[in-house]
């Protein structure tokens, strides 16, 4: 089935800003959940940190509905139960990596002073109830005393489940 370019006029920019005052814990940010009856087609996904004190490696995960419901952006410096490590350190209770992987030496995923990193390895889909989580590599330290925070940006198309969309294969 062919699609007209008009389909891509539906691309919308979304931004989710996590708490920007993490000092004693590692920063993270989470998207809204994909609404019921909808699917998100990600054309691009990225994230950044405003802190210029030190670079940090970011990772982007898709979190399934069973745990996504309780995963929200915090209003204060604290921890989320989605992280099984201390101070919001991965690994996650559940989730699958969307961005390129790795840890030390992963310069493509380092954010510093507002520089963005790419959050998706290839055009990606997110079903209803899932969320995107951006977090910091567990080998990185907290930024105390400098406040830290992550912002997620996305270019996505929200489609209803009864719509026809371009084939995913």
């Amino acid at each position: 089935m062919s699609f007209c370019a008009d389909f891509y006029r539906r691309i919308q920019g979304r931004r989710w800003t996590g708490f920007q005052g993490f000092i004693l814990n590692k920063a993270f940010a989470v998207s809204d959940a994909v609404p019921a009856g909808k699917v998100w087609i990600f054309m691009s996904l990225s994230g950044f940190r405003l802190s210029s004190a030190s670079s940090r490696i970011l990772h982007f995960f898709a979190v399934p509905p069973a745990d996504a419901g309780g995963l929200v952006n915090l209003g204060a410096d604290g921890t989320s139960g989605q992280f099984t490590g201390v101070n919001n350190n991965p690994p996650l209770k559940s989730g699958v990596l969307l961005s390129i992987g790795g840890g030390t030496g992963l310069t493509d995923m380092q954010s510093l002073g507002g520089s963005s990193v790419n959050g998706v390895n290839l055009p990606s889909y997110l079903p209803e109830g899932w969320k995107v989580l951006a977090c910091i590599d567990s080998n990185e330290g907290v930024t105390n005393p400098t406040p830290d925070g992550i912002t997620i940006d996305a270019a996505l198309i929200e489609v209803a489940t009864d719509e026809c969309i371009p084939d995913l294969l």
């Binding site: 989730g95 699958v96 992987g101 790795g102 290839l122 079903p127 719509e163 371009p166 084939d167």
Partner: protein
């Protein structure tokens, strides 16, 4: 394609059943088999090693029977003859009974495919190079590079987002016909959006 297909995506996680008893036996993890009447469309795939002491390099394979049958009674990481062995390490590549790489390949220098980088850091690696279809009775296997070294109590945790589709259901007409047939091994990779 109807967008509703994507809302059938499931989250899966499989973990090595038994941790490694020594540095001479490498860990591996095998997913459950794809049911005989389904195919899996793999939308996301990643892994980490929660307890390894040093950096390791992981690769993911689509594996056919008989090695995929191991998922019916997983004993991993016991020494398995489907894998190769070196003088000092078992359960390494190449997979003797067959298997095709689905992740990005690498040597031991790839930071993108390195877990526990540095040692003790439970970071994930992305094992999906392209979306792909896994045919009935096949499974996913994740191995550690044989040059990465071994250790005690190593396990691999594999996470995935998959859509399980009945064989009779149309994905794309050409794919559905191929998957239902038995003429040749079916491992289909394409991507368009």
């Amino acid at each position: 394609m109807r967008a509703s297909i994507l809302n059938r995506a499931e989250y899966k996680r499989w973990t090595t059943s038994n941790s490694t008893p020594s540095a001479s036996i490498n860990p591996y993890v095998i997913s459950e088999r794809v049911p005989a009447d389904k195919v899996w469309i793999v939308l996301a795939l990643s892994a980490f090693m929660p307890h390894a002491a040093s950096s390791q390099f992981l690769r993911a394979f689509a594996v056919p029977p008989p090695i995929s049958d191991m998922s019916l009674n997983p004993q991993n990481p016991s020494v398995d003859q489907d894998f190769s062995q070196t003088v000092s390490i078992s359960n390494v590549e190449p997979i003797l009974s067959g298997g095709v790489l689905v992740s990005k390949g690498s040597g031991t220098g790839s930071t993108e495919m390195s877990v526990n980088s540095p040692g003790g850091n439970a970071n994930s690696v992305n094992l999906l190079r392209q979306r792909f279809v896994l045919r009935p009775l096949w499974a996913l296997a994740v191995l550690q590079d044989k040059n990465g070294g071994g250790g005690n109590s190593f396990v691999i945790a594999l996470s995935a987002m998959i859509i399980a589709m009945p064989l009779a259901e149309a994905v794309k007409d050409s794919y559905a016909a191929l998957v239902a047939g038995t003429a040749s091994p079916v491992f289909l990779v394409n991507k368009s959006l």
